[in-house]
């Protein structure tokens, strides 16, 4: 493992610094995606006709190869982090919008009727009833988006050292140091697993009201339906659910984080 943690000087970052950069480039898009997805999903819930075209649009965005996306953006945002962050944020919508829509729709009609009958207005109803009940579904979406984002950041290496840990792959080639490639892949995978675990932990803290049996079902579900978080350049995995399947509150999409290797 000699040289695993020794970063070439052209990266201008220590190992830990690269991890910080990688997390920033991966998590910021998910955060932006969530902020965008919340109002969009709410509009889709309110106006049912809007949902199919929105799903279509997010899926089309997702179908644009990331490398092509970066190249187009370079004209406007240059060889910067922003160029990586924008596509990743847009990609996250393909999971987050359906996750939130399904989560909000999972609120039972009786619960909704009871809330209306108690004189709880629409804004309060959204914040105090719909959103909290949608938390499990939203977190299922966040887990997929986060793991996928962590792996996709590496592609940024191809547009001039914007790939954080992904840059190590290029340097491994450049300096004939295969250990750097191993370092890149292993570290990315570990980051994805840890981020996923952190999200599961937060979800559990936020939802003490979830039946234990549903939690068990959650652990068992997923597998093949989960996306393949491929770290390879240009290729977003094929397995992402493009719509509707993300959760009635009991199903889950479990990212197979290990396949980031």
């Amino acid at each position: 493992m000699n040289g695993f943690f020794d970063m070439p000087s052209d990266l201008q970052h220590s190992y830990v610094g690269l991890i910080g950069l990688h997390l920033q480039e991966a998590l910021l898009p998910v955060a932006i995606g969530l902020v965008l997805a919340l109002p969009v999903a709410q509009l889709c819930v309110r106006f049912k006709w809007l949902y199919p075209p929105v799903l279509w649009a997010t899926t089309v965005l997702y179908a644009i190869p990331s490398l092509a996306f970066f190249v187009v953006l370079i004209d406007y945002t240059g060889q910067t982090e922003t160029t990586v962050v924008i596509p990743l944020a847009l990609y996250s919508l393909v999971v987050l919008v359906p996750a939130i829509v399904d989560g909000v729709r999972s609120v039972s009609p009786e619960t909704n009727a009871a809330a209306v009958a108690m004189g709880i207005g629409p804004v309060r109803r959204y914040l105090q009833v719909e959103l909290p009940i949608a938390v499990p579904a939203i977190f299922a979406g966040l887990r997929v988006a986060t793991v996928s984002s962590i792996s996709l950041v590496s592609v940024g290496a191809l547009i001039g050292n914007q790939g954080a840990l992904g840059n190590l792959l290029a340097d491994a080639n450049l300096y004939h140091r295969p250990i750097l490639a191993v370092s890149s892949v292993v570290t990315t995978a570990v980051l994805a697993i840890l981020a996923d675990a952190a999200l599961v932990l937060i979800r559990m803290l936020l939802t003490p009201w979830l039946p234990k049996s549903a939690r068990r079902a959650r652990r068992g579900a997923g597998g093949p339906a989960g996306p393949d978080a491929n770290g390879d350049a240009g290729d977003k995995a094929g397995g992402l659910p493009a719509g509707g399947t993300l959760g009635d509150g009991t199903t889950d999409v479990r990212p197979t984080a290990g396949s980031a290797l």
Binding site: T111, N112, A117, M118, G119, I120, V129, P132, P208, P211
Partner: protein, 380 residues
């Protein structure tokens, strides 16, 4: 008093859910809206708290048009109970019940105290306060639903098929609980159900609606059972409505044979003092509780002699004055002798009565109330 005046609900696609419905819903009583699915009963209920806006007519509460009240204030002045309870699954029981009080600006402590009080009132152990809805059974959840509706002490309670989703035994318990709570609180309750038996059990007044949102009949349950307005209502009431109607007649007036009871240690001389024309006597223990029926002729010959082995089972008994004629008749039908035994509150026998005497009492009771059963088929 809730006055529903010529209310209609028409949807843009032309469907008429409610058509010119007028009802006077009296205060402090349970008014049931009952009818087959598609009769507009839930629509009518939801127009009272404006979850559905009416498209014709008006609804007044104590003379005030509901359209003139702010909608959320109107809704908070009415408790609402729904099928499956519709609890907030992400909130504890105590927080669920305290929802409306908190919105009305009560302090957390006061809302909590009120929740605890209500949990006891609806028959829930306060140790459940910190649990989440998923940890409760369906029946318990429904009790929480009722407590939540009562939280801010609204004068009006709207109940939308509240007990339809629980099993029959639990439903029976919830209905009795509702009647008990109502006897304590005296709310104005509008209760929607598709179950006519439930309507008869809980209703002080019953409005039978027919498909298309028209009122078929509006009457107290005993009148509904004895004089259905038309064949459709009669059909909806189902079979044995005559027997069911007996639930509304008391047993106070039954001509009891008080001389038909004999103690288990009675001598032949004591037996001889009993009514001579009865074919059998009810043998009771030293405390007066029924043991069983014995052949009168045999007793007169030899006395009771503490002989309980040869007795016919006394079967079910009815509590005089508390149980209805229906229960008394049922006891007589089930009795091996065709006679029913009446007991007092402590279970001591007070008299016996024959099926024939009960049948005469039924006819007299109908005559007193002027509710002589009408055969709708013959009237047609």
């Amino acid at each position: 008093m809730i006055s529903i005046e010529a209310v209609s609900k028409r949807y843009p696609d032309g469907t008429v859910a409610v058509d010119g419905l007028s009802l006077e819903i009296p205060d402090r009583s349970i008014t049931v809206l009952v009818g087959p699915s598609g009769c507009g009963k839930t629509t009518t209920l939801r127009m009272i708290n404006r979850m559905i806006e009416l498209s014709g007519g008006r609804i007044l509460i104590d003379g005030e048009d509901i359209q003139h009240k702010p909608v959320n204030a109107l809704r908070r002045s009415m408790g609402y109970v729904i099928q499956n309870a519709g609890l907030f699954q992400h909130r504890t029981i105590v927080d669920n019940i305290g929802t409306v009080p908190r919105m009305l600006g009560w302090s957390k402590a006061k809302a909590r105290e009120r929740s605890m009080e209500l949990m006891e009132r609806v028959g829930l152990d306060t140790s459940m306060a910190k649990r989440y809805p998923y940890q409760l059974s369906g029946g318990q959840q429904q009790r929480v639903g009722v407590a939540r509706a009562l939280a801010a002490d609204p004068p009006v309670l709207l109940m939308d098929e509240p007990f339809s989703a629980v099993d029959p035994v639990v439903r029976r318990g919830l209905q009795e609980e509702l009647l008990r709570i109502q006897s304590e609180l005296g709310k104005t309750i509008v209760f929607v159900t598709h179950d006519i038996d439930e309507a008869i059990r809980v209703g002080d007044m019953i409005a039978v609606l027919r498909t298309g949102g028209k009122l078929a009949q509006y009457a107290p349950p005993d009148e509904l059972l004895s004089r259905p307005a038309d064949a459709a209502v009669e059909d909806f009431l189902g079979a044995d409505r005559g027997i069911r109607g007996l639930s509304f007649f008391g047993t106070e007036q039954l001509p009891l044979e008080r001389n038909g009871i004999v103690a288990v240690d009675a001598t032949a001389a004591q037996v001889a003092e009993r009514a001579a024309d009865l074919p059998q006597l009810l043998v009771v223990d030293v405390d007066g509780r029924p043991l069983g029926w014995a052949d009168a002729a045999r007793l007169r010959a030899s006395g009771a002699r503490n002989d309980t082995a040869g007795l016919l089972a006394s079967g079910q008994t009815f509590r005089l004055g508390e149980d209805s004629l229906r229960v008394a008749l049922d006891c007589a039908v089930l009795s091996p002798t065709g006679w029913a035994a009446a007991v007092d509150g402590e279970g001591r026998a007070v008299g016996v009565v024959s099926q024939e005497a009960i049948a005469r009492a039924i006819r007299e009771a109908h005559g007193r109330r002027g509710t002589a059963p009408v055969d709708v088929g013959a009237a047609r």
